[in-house]
């Protein structure tokens, strides 16, 4: 059992948990993930570790409610526990002094981007961050990225905060400007990562993406997370989850991620139905923990 020491909503459907997991906290490096299982009927799902606190022996998990398990996690709070948490899995991000590095976080992908961006900055890179989301309340970690970044850009699909448009609109502009971009790290929806990859490939900018295929064991045993990289089959859990974006077969990955769409929907509907009969209609989103929007002047 892994106890939840703290929890808070980052947006109406995104929650951050501080989970007691001593061994994992001690080992965690940017880019790594855990596999969790909530209870003895639960599925195993991968979640990226957003941060860790070695002294407290805790890891931070940032979870968006998309499927049954993540929806169920919205009900968890301080004092609750997660039955199984295993990790840190995957190969840590390769952090180097590239020069000018662009960190891109799409939606809840920003949670994965954050420790990587911080490591890039600590290494001495000039850090440009681009955060994107569908709307203002889906943007997470804006304040933390603001503190960290030399430059930060924000886009929303509806223009409710920052620039109306996509992260790739900003990236496209930056590629044409000086100074030249040496490195791009992008995490977010597949479509976004694919589009980023397409842009940087044209300009020959080294680009890494973090992939999110379906996983079961996370130790290389099942092969469910296999992805096509440069024409080869690789296992995201042991060979990734980060890969050279220009080699990723996004189309196949997208299709494979839809393998259980029907079952996922069935499971979620059933869960919501059960919940609906028990729960009041009030939103779980606490307005007091709304985002602090401290933006640098160049925003």
């Amino acid at each position: 059992m892994y106890e939840i020491l703290d929890d808070r909503y980052l947006s109406p459907n995104v929650k951050q948990f501080e989970v007691l997991a001593n061994r994992i906290a001690r080992k965690q490096q940017p880019g790594q993930f855990v596999i969790i299982r909530l209870h003895d009927r639960g599925e195993r799902i991968p979640l990226t570790i957003a941060d860790s606190d070695r002294e407290r022996g805790t890891i931070q998990l940032i979870v968006k409610a998309v499927g049954k398990t993540t929806q169920e996690m919205m009900n968890l709070s301080r004092g609750d526990a997660i039955l199984n948490v295993v990790g840190p899995l995957g190969i840590p991000s390769h952090i180097d002094l590239f020069g000018t590095a662009v960190a891109i976080g799409g939606g809840v992908g920003a949670a994965i981007t954050y420790p990587i961006a911080r490591a890039l900055k600590e290494k001495g890179n000039r850090l440009i961050t681009i955060l994107g989301a569908s709307q203002e309340n889906q943007l997470i970690l804006l304040d933390k990225f603001s503190e960290l970044s030399d430059q930060i850009y924000v886009t929303t699909d509806d223009g409710s905060l920052g620039e109306k448009g996509k992260v790739t609109d900003v990236l496209m502009r930056l590629i044409e400007e000086e100074p030249a971009i040496d490195y791009v790290h992008a995490v977010g929806p597949l479509q976004m990562m694919e589009e980023v990859s397409r842009l940087t490939k044209k300009s020959n900018i080294q680009t890494v993406v973090s992939l999110n295929p379906i996983m079961v064991d996370g130790t290389g045993m099942c092969g469910g997370c296999r992805v096509r990289i440069g024409g080869e089959t690789r296992f995201a859990c042991v060979d990734g989850p980060e890969f050279n974006a220009h080699e990723v077969d996004f189309k196949t990955l997208n299709q494979r991620n839809e393998m259980y769409l029907d079952q996922e929907r069935e499971s979620l509907d059933r869960f919501n139905l059960e919940q609906g009969s028990e729960k009041s209609t009030s939103s779980p989103f606490d307005p007091d923990c709304k985002l602090k929007k401290i933006l640098p002047s160049n925003f």
Binding site: V86, V238, Q255, E258
Partner: protein, 461 residues
């Protein structure tokens, strides 16, 4: 062996074999010639004193018979169910030359079950505590058998498991209908009673490293028994289509995560009910997978193998059971390509007919393609069961640990010691995919040499 009727068991996950009754077991034991040479013992990878335990069965001393087996085999209820006896002990049985060999496997199982149902296991006496600590990585058959032997020798043993449940392939791989999970749990509880500690959710190489186990965690020796990893694929076009599984994934979803009970359990498995399911391969895992598909109500369950039934590496009994349950065997067939629709959903498989050519280096006849024999078979789900490569988890975390070009851990053949002093390895992570009993044999051998290492006056650390 009494069995569940095939027409009934097709629709449930309960054990197929129902076990012998006392009368039948005693009668069977009486068939043993008690020959002086006991070739059956040489045929056993862990050296169970077969003639002695059968003699005790004949005398109806069933509990003593169980204790006799336990001197050499800490998991008799398991091996009695999953060992390929026909190529081991029973293959060496003198009776087998002219008649059916003594059903040693059935007797072993009978004795272990009898013990369980009559007061439980009488655990052997532990030797004096040595004060030495041994870490075992992996709770599959190699790890469990080493753990048992080392605990008996008086060492303090901790077993680390990456998954959330103990048992390794015995839990995630072998289905309930062949090896009930409760049997594995019972055997593990017996090991707990020997004082062995178990920790789940620990991926050695990630959560903790070997150097840390041997350093700050204070272990005197480590045994790596992580088993096989990385399932092999055919590397043919279309293998990433929705509906193509490795046997490991399919079985893990169903066995470990109980996807057959979805949506009561959260883990899903691709829809099989009323679908055509094919398995590629001829080993025990292939049969486990296709027989699981039968139970998940596939409309048609086909086993595709490029050789013939004679060359199948699977246990004979499993092949017979599969036939009884209506599995269709399509021999001398090699898949060439998976075909899907525009949504990336598997629809069919393009295959080629084979013929058998001259034997390969292993003595098995090699399949040779027949020209212009291609055909297309419509399928909805395909499970690839071609074995596994080496799991890189532990190896990649420690550069001092030497591996062979295929990634398997290099060990001294006698002692099973790796390139790191005090660190031993055995089972599939050394040999590549093999059987439960061979892994247990490796676990025993490792336990012996770890014990020797720990008792030597100056263990080289």
């Amino acid at each position: 062996m009494p069995q569940q009727d095939p027409l009934i068991r097709k629709y449930n996950f309960e054990e197929v074999n129902q076990g012998l009754l006392v009368e039948l077991a005693t009668l069977e034991a009486e068939r043993c010639l008690d020959c002086s040479s006991s070739p059956c013992i040489q045929g056993c990878p862990v050296g169970v004193k077969i003639s002695e335990f059968i003699d005790l069965v004949r005398k109806k001393e069933f509990l003593k018979a169980a204790q006799k087996i336990r001197e050499d085999n800490v998991l008799p209820a398991i091996t009695g169910r999953v060992c390929p006896q026909e190529i081991q002990c029973e293959a060496s049985c003198v009776l087998g030359k002219n008649f059916e060999p003594v059903a040693i496997g059935y007797l072993e199982r009978f004795v272990a079950d009898y013990e369980k149902n009559h007061g439980g296991v009488v655990l052997p006496q532990l030797e004096e505590p040595t004060g030495k600590k041994v870490a075992i990585i992996g709770s599959g058959p190699a790890g469990l058998s080493a753990a048992g032997d080392l605990a008996l020798k008086g060492h303090s043993v901790t077993v680390y498991e990456a998954l959330h449940e103990l048992g390794g392939v015995l839990i995630y791989g072998i289905p309930e209908f062949r090896l009930p999970k409760s049997i594995v749990e019972d055997e593990i509880n017996n090991l707990r009673r020997l004082g062995i500690q178990f920790e789940t959710d620990i991926v050695v190489g990630k959560t903790v490293c070997i150097s840390e186990l041997m350093g700050e965690e204070g272990f005197d020796a480590v045994f790596i028994a992580t088993g096989a990893g990385l399932p092999k694929f055919l590397n043919i076009p279309g293998e990433d289509l929705k509906g193509v599984y490795s046997a490991n994934e399919f079985l893990t979803r169903v066995n470990l995560l109980k996807a057959y009970l979805f949506p009561d359990y959260d883990e899903p498995v691709y829809e099989t009910e009323g679908k055509v399911v094919a398995v590629i391969g001829g080993g025990n895992t292939a049969l486990d997978a296709i027989r699981t598909a039968v139970r998940l109500k596939a409309s048609k369950s086909i086993l595709i193998y490029r050789r013939t039934m004679t060359e199948m590496p699977a246990r004979k009994e499993e092949i017979e059971h599969a036939e009884e349950e209506g599995v269709l065997f399509q021999f001398l067939t090699q898949p060439l390509e998976f075909l899907g629709d525009h949504n990336g959903v598997l629809k069919a498989i393009r295959c080629q007919r084979m013929s058998l050519g001259p034997p390969d280096s292993m003595g098995r006849k090699s399949p040779v393609p027949i020209p212009d024999s291609e055909f297309i078979q419509e399928i909805d789900l395909c499970i690839v069961a071609l074995g596994n490569g080496a799991n890189p988890m532990v190896q990649s975390s420690d550069s001092k640990l030497k591996v062979d070009p295929r990634g398997y851990i290099k060990v001294n053949e006698d002692s099973l010691q790796t390139s790191i002093p005090g660190v031993f390895a055995g089972g599939d992570v050394v040999t590549g995919g093999a059987t439960v009993i061979l892994a247990m044999g490796a676990g025993r051998r490792a336990a012996r040499s770890i014990d020797k290492y720990l008792r030597s006056p100056t263990p080289t650390r």
